[in-house]
Subunit: 485 residues, 2 copies
Amino acid sequence: MMTPTTGWGTTTTLYGEGVARERLVVIGGDAAGMSAASGARRRKTVDELEIVAFERGNYTSYAACGLPYFVADVVDAIDDLIARHPDEFRDNQDIDVHMRHEVVSIDLDRRRVTVRDLEANAERDEPFDQLVIATGAVPRRPALERSDAAGIFGIQTVTDGAALRDYIVEQKPKNAVVVGGGYIGLEMAEAMKRRGLAVTIVDSGPQVMSTLDPDMGAMVGDAIRGLGCEVHTGTRVQAFETDSDSHVKAVVSDQGTYAADLVVLGLGVLPDVALAQAAGITIGITGAIATDRRMATNVAGVWSAGDCVETYHRVARRPVNIALGTHANKQGRAIGVNATGGHLTFPGVIGTAVTKICELEVARTGLTEREATAAGFEYVTATIESTTRASYYPGASPITVKVLAERGTGRLIGAQIIGREGAAKRVDVMAAAIWNEMTAEEFASLDLGYAPPFSPVWDPTLIAARRVDAAAAVSADDARARSLP
Amino acid sequence: MMTPTTGWGTTTTLYGEGVARERLVVIGGDAAGMSAASGARRRKTVDELEIVAFERGNYTSYAACGLPYFVADVVDAIDDLIARHPDEFRDNQDIDVHMRHEVVSIDLDRRRVTVRDLEANAERDEPFDQLVIATGAVPRRPALERSDAAGIFGIQTVTDGAALRDYIVEQKPKNAVVVGGGYIGLEMAEAMKRRGLAVTIVDSGPQVMSTLDPDMGAMVGDAIRGLGCEVHTGTRVQAFETDSDSHVKAVVSDQGTYAADLVVLGLGVLPDVALAQAAGITIGITGAIATDRRMATNVAGVWSAGDCVETYHRVARRPVNIALGTHANKQGRAIGVNATGGHLTFPGVIGTAVTKICELEVARTGLTEREATAAGFEYVTATIESTTRASYYPGASPITVKVLAERGTGRLIGAQIIGREGAAKRVDVMAAAIWNEMTAEEFASLDLGYAPPFSPVWDPTLIAARRVDAAAAVSADDARARSLP
């Protein structure tokens, strides 16, 4: 269905042979913003739509998820992490990208943004018909003195990653403390350990990897300890000590003081909504920008995507704010279509995430036990051990699959997987099942790929589904009628 | 729901303290039959149900799919391929397994089978209340003279595999010809090549791996040629030449004669329905035994599962006969439940299959182009190239994904994947999508696992879905409204 793009704003200009040309302004030159810009360009020529993007940093479209591998020297050059450079957008797509330009305010009435050229230190106004707010996120920092001392790094942008690697190479720190034991914290811990630093991980929770259930997270904790990292859980950071040069020298916690000439903050990120909030755009209950399924904000012609927006969790049935490049890309793509008269929705997320810690592949989708309880589910769980390949096939290695199903109905609502090579991406089939609201019984019948190099004759995910189906029985009769595991 | 198991037959006996005990007889001791037996035992004690299984061969519950790896010496011992031995069934589950016992006829009126003890060369009758027919399949052999000459092997049972490996070790053949370039043919070709034989593959079709579309199959052909195998497609075998000892010495085709002191038949298998057919059990249009969703034949209390049955193809909406251990296990499991008063259906298949040829992982699910046409679909295709991991992450390797979608609706109806490590099992998420009748647009929004060691930010399957969604447009307007790839 086509919705004609008609005058959102007031700046539509006559261009060339008298064709009205709209102006799309994009704030933020990373995944979400540039996906929107590229998508819009694929559907509208430069004669139909002017596209201008402002990025306060030095890079466009970079892979922040790749930073731990850059710090570990697994990826050699920072350039490898840049999917597309500003010149490529300008030369190949007529997208007018301005680097080191920070949008400092949005005037929705006059359809203008105020932009500061950080190099020239000068401000100017720029008009828009449609606007994409893709301001991303900022690392969460503890509300402690000296948390921005030299040697303390948040890891969010390519610039952050480059600064950290330079610091390691030039300052040769010996003792790193990672604050926060989530994905980025553990990935950075491993990266620094591989570079020869002594690494201590401090987490306030009862376990690392708190996005998994404790029983599964414990396996990740064991792996990171096995690599030689010290792990202190249930430990709250209280202060940073610095030396006379204002360089960090220790992390003080309620459990003890840890020497540190390098600190990496792995406390997650917060949506960067200051600009949008100041302009009067609606912020949702998660603290991120609220949009509809088409990624439209409450203001006509103003869209938002990426780490700064909230999105719908299809299992929990509530808004969530999840900072992940894969969501940012999909949301940006939807804007590219919707801002140019098409119709494409971003239907939400189900909390899928994967990572690799040491040789351990770690994956989750749907809800954990804590999340299921919070979402009002009565659930059962099953955890099974199997192998990634037929047991007799070389390279078969252990895999643990935990699944959650709604009690009674047997509807699958969550899965967690830990194992070696070939384990993590098995979460995708569970994600597709949860997305489609399949029951465990239905899932156990799925026609999945079987051959000895890839799977036992019952794929581990199918075995887990069988077990949880039996567990979901609400009575002895029900249990008897259900297939036993 | 419970359906009480009430007197199917006439042989229910008083047992022990006067409890009526039923008798379940299983014909065939491999995956389907023994899954049924085990499943039934998990639900009924030996006081409630006597379970007797007859297997004409020497092994129970073996992994026929593992035979190529045994022949290649990747798997050392034949015993590694045996999931469970007869003694384990007898000692742990009170399942009375009789090896080297061939059922030679079924008398449905008198509820008896006639069994020949192949060692004692004696026949006897055995009564049943319920019967499981799991007679499996037999290798398809060309209707040519001397096709059972010494040195010509069909590969279906563990006994076949052991005989082939013994032959290779003892006779030291130099030139192997594989007739048929499907899964088993190519896997065996690779196995023999790795053992140092010269290998020639002869296939009557225009390509090897005809279960894929020609464009995808060609990539597999290139891989097997790259390993040093000769491949002759469009080549029909016309005769086998033998020496004075009746050993095979050459394969004669319409394109030439190929020296061969070893021939492996990889022409697929035929369902072994002779017993069932003779007893009057309904055979379906595929030539395999017809059952309902519960795996019940047309005769009350007589069930069938495994390579000998036909099953419902959920996309093609017609019966198919597909010999795969994973289906056999699931079907057998359903019988175990249904024959003991429970209710469990086998809801059909969608044609998923995976294999590994050389370093190439090969996968398919749903329909190929030829199959889609035969099933009455108007379809579009998209084929994309991507990488198995983020392009900057070590070990990222090429992956090709081809998808088929129904024109107009965009419903996904087929997928084929070829690539290196990490490619094949991606077919599972496409299988789950096809199973749930997702459209390409819906699929492109799926929340799949993303991290650099596992995937580019857009998983290759998502990219393929985007492309085929655009291709599915039925008009220029429709194309414009759809998200462009």
